[in-house]
Assembly symmetry: C2
Homo-oligomer: 251 residues x 2
């Protein structure tokens, strides 16, 4: 299960980003446009789905005995209690108030790329993040937080809580959304820093590799006048300039 080649990964990326544009009703959530564009600007990464974090009221479908739900309210920015009350007006189903934190799924070319993104996420406080490894070398990283709220508001049209409680919930959710925003910023900074360090390391390795090649060429030039005793060393050095991306690839 080898990692895909750079060309194959580029094809997957193009297919996914085009397909996503067609299927999405909306667009990238405004608070994370810059982050998503940054990730998609990396050669070996692309996002497959994301949400900046949201406050919502959703209605469970009881009558139809169907799975799924309708949203009565969705806000990706600070919410107001009055908007929740208005959303509940005339609603005869069962409504639940929710805060859902930032979530982002990114496909990565190699396990090493996924590890780097995962590290940036964990360091920013997204403790429920994790990597998954599919068939055909598909490597995904999901960035998730433990920060949630989920409180029932009404049961088949009957209100279970009063306006004061809704105000309290909305305040709590707004606080969580603000903390969420700070974490996303930390994640973005961490990611830029780790990617820049990685690029630096690769560059250093390339410089060292070129330097060694130069030294080898120089030595070989000298060997023309002496016995060729250095084959073992040549072999050793040729393995040094390893591509970081391949460190974790399977067979």
């Amino acid at each position: 299960m080898a990692a895909p080649s750079a060309a194959e990964f580029a094809r997957w990326k193009q297919q996914c980003l085009c397909a996503t544009d067609l299927s999405r009703k909306g667009s990238i959530d405004e608070p994370i446009v810059e982050l998503v564009n940054f990730i998609n600007g990396q050669q070996f990464l692309f996002t497959t789905s994301s949400c900046s974090g949201r406050i919502s009221v959703f209605a469970e479908k009881h009558k139809e005995k169907k799975k799924g739900c309708d949203w009565l309210l969705i806000s990706h920015t600070q919410a107001e209690a009055q908007a929740v009350m208005t959303a509940l007006c005339d609603h005869t189903g069962s409504a639940v108030f929710k805060f859902e934190p930032f979530v982002l799924h990114a496909q990565c070319r190699t396990i090493q790329d996924a590890r780097l993104v995962h590290q940036a996420a964990i360091q920013a406080g997204f403790r429920n993040s994790g990597i998954s490894l599919g068939n055909k070398g598909k490597v995904m990283v999901a960035i998730r937080s433990t920060h949630t709220l989920e409180a029932p508001l009404s049961d088949r049209g009957r209100m279970l809580v009063d306006e004061d409680y809704i105000s309290y919930l909305v305040d709590a959710a707004n606080e969580k959304l603000e903390e969420n925003r700070r974490r996303v910023q930390r994640f973005f900074s961490n990611l830029k820093e780790l990617l820049s360090n990685q690029a630096g390391e690769v560059q250093t390795q390339e410089v060292q590799h070129r330097k060694r090649e130069h030294q080898e060429a120089h030595r070989k030039h000298q060997y023309k006048r002496g016995p060729d005793t250095c084959a073992a060393h040549d072999q050793e050095h040729s393995d040094d300039g390893v591509d970081l991306h391949n460190l974790f690839e399977g067979s």
Copy 2:
């Protein structure tokens, strides 16, 4: 970053399981004792922490300005509204009602082991599961669900909700706990099946490998009387009997 050797992994496992026994105030949650013992009975896996899923009321520490919280109630089985009311009696802090689903962290020797456990978890509905890859070849898999409830009950001693709401919450949490129980069972079945298939594959590969060795010995015996033309084929075959555990190891 190679996977640890079997001996090194066994040492980590022993250290962790002993340390865990000393540090834990309680013990493994009763509903998952069999599952945890099964995982720890596998040569290349061990659990580092777990919770079978629980219904709780916890009190946020406002006054002390400290992080952390005290639990007023914890139940790993079906809860009763009366117990929640009793837990809130005389409490002057801010209490939150929570349902937290099953969670389990397992350390695995190789990425391939983690992938198998992760697959069993995803197929059982634990959609927030993921793998993490630490330094020194430490491979962990976390099994997590999206199923939660988190509703504030009181604010610095002032009740925010009434008894009816608490009954409704407890019923909702009990339903989630029951669904959680079914998922844990599915995970356990999936894990046993995948591990047994893997063992079967390894066994089949070993049988095939021995069969090939026998055929090779037979061929080589014949080659004594003819030219040695088959070195390339020998080389090809010698790579076939690959250990499944090593498929994903990094360099």
